[in-house]
């Protein structure tokens, strides 16, 4: 993996439900978003695994953001909780690899809330910009 470049992509994993509906709300209202963000829609955030997140970084991602349904509102009951465990495990691996902890984040989003989505996304992008790879 080469050094982090300024135009590096941010990978966004979302579930198909609450979180994705917030992305769609932004699209519907035609609000501009950063082109650095590559959204990948999963059936449920519970599908994520450490290997998939590491694959994004191995491929050169500047950051990985996971967006799921609020607690208690997962379509499949526990997917968002599973994803939290995966993120914690992956973060401990990334810290060993010397990556800034801000490059991986997990957030829960309400449905149909484009404003909240943009707030979470922009704050994440800012943290990734400030906390780029230590080297």
């Amino acid at each position: 993996m080469s050094k982090v470049k300024t135009r590096q992509k941010v990978i966004l994993f979302t579930c198909s439900w609450h979180a994705y509906s917030s992305l769609e709300a932004v699209a519907r209202e035609r609000i501009s978003c950063s082109t650095a963000v590559v959204p990948i829609r999963l059936s449920c955030l519970g599908r994520i695994s450490p290997g998939i997140i590491l694959k994004a970084f191995e491929g050169g991602a500047a950051g990985v953001l996971l967006l799921g349904c609020p607690e208690g509102q997962c379509r499949y009951q526990t997917g968002n909780l599973e994803a939290r465990k995966v993120v914690e495990e992956t973060r401990s691996l990334l810290l060993l690899l010397g990556y800034d902890e801000n490059r991986l984040e997990y957030q829960l989003l309400p449905a149909e809330n484009g404003e909240k989505y943009l707030e979470v996304l922009n704050q994440f992008l800012e943290r990734v910009q400030n906390g780029r790879k230590k080297s």
Binding site: S49, G51, L54, F57, G98
Partner: protein, 382 residues
């Protein structure tokens, strides 16, 4: 001559007598659920049908490269090396086995090939252990910090093995150097056929290790020991240092003063799992057994021990399925049937794989058997 023919010839695959001795000991062949494959059959395919069909054969990816077949082969066919060579060709064509754990482990290994990486991997070292960054002895924990983070839930001893190793070295008066930025040795990627990443990792380790001016490396991982000692000189260059698995190193040292502390085992009996890379690949059978005896345990051997030992069932984090679980469960049952109260191994992967198999419901007594690394067993008695 084409590359595939070279691999067949270099590993004597064309000298196969078709005798079937390998099939009688291959763990994969013996535990197949459906269909049939065996080392003999793959070698026959290679010689008779050539590259394309061989690279599609399931055994090419399910082979544990445990070397049990070569140990018994009357024609000295080096089947594991043949498989590794064929996997290189396959990998270059975009073929590979299925990665276990969603490719997480290959992920961190490939990320370590980044020359700019600055790892933060020494957080496990407590203040009461002595290290010296000018020491001529390096302790090489390998990927232990990573496996500790990934497999803690299994009850894997993880970094206790690394701390134990430093404690033992300290007891011998050695303050080891521990490298801040060592890379994965590349063993698993090498055996999966990913030579490009293996060579990057090996070149980085070569540079880092040679820059220390150290005389020796002690590791607690049989795969690191074998790879640094044997594969590096073949593929990238000699490190110019002595390489030891901890059990080998301790065999050459004055006897450790161990406490009389009770073993905590009712019978005092333990059994030992020979790791493939330490046993069949490196010929280290007796030293771990001597260490076990020095702790006052009675060693009761499994039916398959030393050169006939059975692999822990999965290798290079690839192709783990029902057949592999069958191998692991039967190995655990074999360990349990010795009457030992403890299964000792000296490979972190044996411990991870066997503890994983113990989580399978309905495992009976063998799923309750404690499994420990020889390092922590010695360290707790100092």
């Amino acid at each position: 001559m084409n590359k595939f023919k070279e691999i067949v010839e270099a590993n004597r695959a064309w000298l196969c007598l078709d005798c079937g001795k390998c099939s009688s000991v291959c763990s994969i062949t013996l535990n197949l659920i459906e269909g049939y494959t065996s080392p003999r059959l793959l070698v026959e395919t290679a010689v008779a049908s050539g590259e394309d069909i061989t690279l599609e054969d399931p055994l090419l990816w399910s082979c544990l490269t445990c070397q049990r077949c070569s140990e018994i082969c009357p024609s000295e066919v080096n089947f594991s090396a043949f498989v590794q060579g064929a996997r290189q060709l396959a990998f270059d064509q975009g073929l590979s086995g299925s990665c276990t754990h969603s490719g997480m482990i290959q992920g961190w290994m490939r990320m370590m090939a980044d020359p700019d990486l600055e790892q933060d991997r020494l957080g496990w070292l407590p203040d009461d252990l002595a290290v010296d960054q000018d020491s001529d002895t390096i302790y090489f924990p390998g990927c232990l910090p990573y496996y500790d983070a990934a497999f803690g839930e299994l009850g894997f001893e993880g970094l206790a093995i690394a701390r134990g190793a430093v404690k033992i070295l300290n007891a011998l008066g050695i303050k080891p150097r521990i490298l801040e930025n060592e890379r994965c040795c590349g063993h698993d990627l090498y055996w999966q056929g990913d030579m490009e990443t293996f060579q990057k990792l090996a070149a980085l380790n070569l540079e880092i290790i040679q820059a220390t001016g150290a005389k020796r490396i002690v590791t607690t991982c049989p795969e690191c020991a074998y790879t640094l000692r044997t594969t590096y000189p073949e593929e990238i260059g000699d490190l110019g240092v002595e390489i030891y698995h901890l059990s080998e190193f301790l065999a050459d040292q004055p006897l450790l003063k161990t406490s009389e502390k009770s073993s905590g085992l009712e019978s005092g009996k333990v059994t030992y799992q020979d790791p493939c890379r330490l046993g069949r690949f490196s010929g280290v059978y007796q030293q771990p057994r001597d260490l076990i005896a020095s702790l006052g345990y009675e060693l009761v051997e499994m039916d398959h021990a030393r050169s006939t030992s059975i692999c822990c069932g999965t290798s290079c984090w690839s192709s783990c399925g029902q057949v592999n679980k069958e191998i692991q469960i039967s190995r655990l049952e074999e360990a349990s049937s010795t009457g030992a109260g403890l299964l000792v191994t000296s490979c972190l992967k044996c411990q991870i794989h066997l503890k994983c198999a113990q989580k399978i419901p309905g495992g009976g007594d063998s799923s309750q058997m404690p499994i420990r690394d020889l390092t922590t067993l010695v360290a707790e008695r100092i």
